[in-house]
Amino acid sequence: MLTDSEIAALLLEPKTLPNNWKGRLKPRQKEQAQHGERSLDIPRPDGGKFRIIVRQNYLNVFDFSMILVFCAKDGKEYRLRRFNGRHPSGHTNRYEKKFGGQPVYFRNVFHIHTATERYQSVNLEIDGFAEPTASYVDLKSAQEAFIAEHNFVEDAVGYSDPGLFDAETLE
């Protein structure tokens, strides 16, 4: 389980993007699906990595998702943040519904899911808490807000991620 302070530290931790990150986050159509998806791994200096996942529904341009995942050194994965589009349905914050707090319910709006300690403590999904947002209106602006809010920086020396990792361990 991640504590709230650990989650906050991970969100604020500087994350270095390869200079080809925009191309590597362009969704690709998935087979037998009406959406595209793409992901990009960002190594952490002390082990583990962050992963960005982008999903776009091709039947409804307002239905998309940008996800920040923390992949710990022990192999466990935690969804820290999810910038969701305006999918035509509601969202219920189950913890707040049961124990009190706001918001309990909203619908058909852009919204952001955030990992919390309290959701994990009662065996709810780590990022089950969500709040409406006005900080983006489509996938492009959501991507800009996502990059800005999570302390992503483009690598100054031009590191370009070819989609491999630790290839140097082999000859």
Binding site: Q32, A33, Q34, L59, T92, E125, L164, L170
Partner: protein, 251 residues
Amino acid sequence: MNQQEILHEFRRKVCDQIEIEPEGLNRYVVYTPFQFDDGDHFVTVLKRQNGHWLLSDEGHTLMHLSYGEFNLEAQTRKNIIETALEGFGLDNASGELRMTIRDGQFGDSLFSFSQALMKISDTAYWTRDRVASTFMEDFRLLMKEKFTEREVRFDYQDAVRDVNGSYPVDCYVGNGRPVLIFGILNDMKCVNSALTIMKFKDWGSRFRSIGVFEDQTKVAAKNVAKFTDASDKNFSSLVAAQDIGDYVGAL
């Protein structure tokens, strides 16, 4: 049937919490209380196409369930989804789940549509719980997907030195320097795979070896260490192994 009559039917057949809101031309969002496990509600849209009313999830359900590890093509999962779709009368239009409303049966259709979405979303729970029966299916699908240009053989054994099949390899990738890939579900498989790699080395074979764990954190550290010593590369999970094709291509 007008909007109010349709709403009345929905509520009568499903529950009082149903609401309808027009959005776009000949398109209504149907708000239901049914949710995925993260609190997001199922998407249900009522729309008119080619003179017929239909319910659609507009492709949202499978997108919502795909955090990279939900693979619709895994046979066990595929069967469950197809059974749910068939049983409740839905069509899968390349990822869009839809149901044509016949004879004005709006309420009954929403009832069946919602039941089907619940059944399908349930498969995500056992996806995340990593039920063993689907792991090897997912593993094979991933190998097929990632090595389309290479010869891929499953349950490979050395026909000359291992006629009894004592040292099986889950996936043999040929056409080039061979790569032996093992799907590792548990401690026993981890140790046996390490032994197989060592045996192939004893035989003087030239190859690369890779392990793909179902969940490396569930295997004892000492056994992971044994496998790591024997192999060239480990992937901690199927999600982590998404780059395996690039990795092998770079060797």
